[in-house]
Symmetry: C2
Amino acid sequence: MKIAVLGTGEVGHTLATKLASLGHEVVMGSRTADNPAAKEWAAANGASHGTFADAAADAEIVVNATGGLVSLAALTAAGAENLRGKVVVDVSNGLDFSDGFPPRIVTPDGVSVAEQLQRAFPETRVVKTLNTMNNAVMVDPSRVPGHHNVFLSGDEDAAKSAVRELLGSFGWGEDQILDLGDLTSARGVEQLVGLWVRLYGVLGTGDFNFAIVR
Amino acid sequence: MKIAVLGTGEVGHTLATKLASLGHEVVMGSRTADNPAAKEWAAANGASHGTFADAAADAEIVVNATGGLVSLAALTAAGAENLRGKVVVDVSNGLDFSDGFPPRIVTPDGVSVAEQLQRAFPETRVVKTLNTMNNAVMVDPSRVPGHHNVFLSGDEDAAKSAVRELLGSFGWGEDQILDLGDLTSARGVEQLVGLWVRLYGVLGTGDFNFAIVR
């Protein structure tokens, strides 16, 4: 499948590498056409890179792995015409570290980044997922033993099914994928990251995850 | 032990009942001296009731089970002189349902209710705990099988130890109590409640809890 990964940070890098290793045709997108990290990644993985627009243009699925504070700008640069009708897998978190630790979660008026993206690009099909864990766990859930969960939020069932399939290819079992309902539920998972950051400090490792037990 | 439970809602009711059943001398506090719910509860449990100030005056430990939006007003009514030097167990959540579902989490400038209380009453010893689950699970963790967690946030170790003991008497094992550090970590657990509300809707039961798996 043709997949655009927007963002050249650790999360984008990890997701793009996993997707390429699974045989997808991955294009890593960044603000500029000559981003050194994207170039290096593409060369190492026999894949491509380009601007956000280049990456999104031919993609069937677009992964937003940019920081939550700049996601709207990144998708704007990708272009509404390049995003139209496509599933946008939003794994971002709107963390603001400008006042130090603990970071502030930036959700204007309580609205999640995912909803902001969906509102700005109504013809895309935004699905929020994977933002509640370390990037290594995203693509290899077996790093955390036993029962733990990944959440899914989105307004369209077909789009969520496509994301379920991707998650399955990463190793997530059907019983681990918890569908929270429509995209307003992305507020809950985006707010979860404040606790994640604290737990990371206390546990001293990113190899943990949340489980819902009942 | 002499314990004040501020709040006559479901959470206050459940906690006060459990504490009374464990042999503590419980006073349920409310805005007015003649609150019918408090009166009825006190009669049924051989306990006392009164104003927030009445309840706090003789207490060794004060449990804040009022809604997060009115907690500051409740503690102000209890009176700084009645709270001085005491452990305040804050189980509140600042949920605003005025715009419907999902509720907005009200944490002005990202600061938790617990921190607001600690700032307003610097001579109390605020410990945040138990706010991440249904009230039935708070006092009977065995309602949820297997491994799951309760969190602890506070600036003072001695105060947290006192709360650990209370939690132990409710049935929480030492391995279930996860100390997140100072009171700024209350932001993480107060923000968690947005996801809790969503999960409650999806799972159709309050008998669940969060577990940290690693």
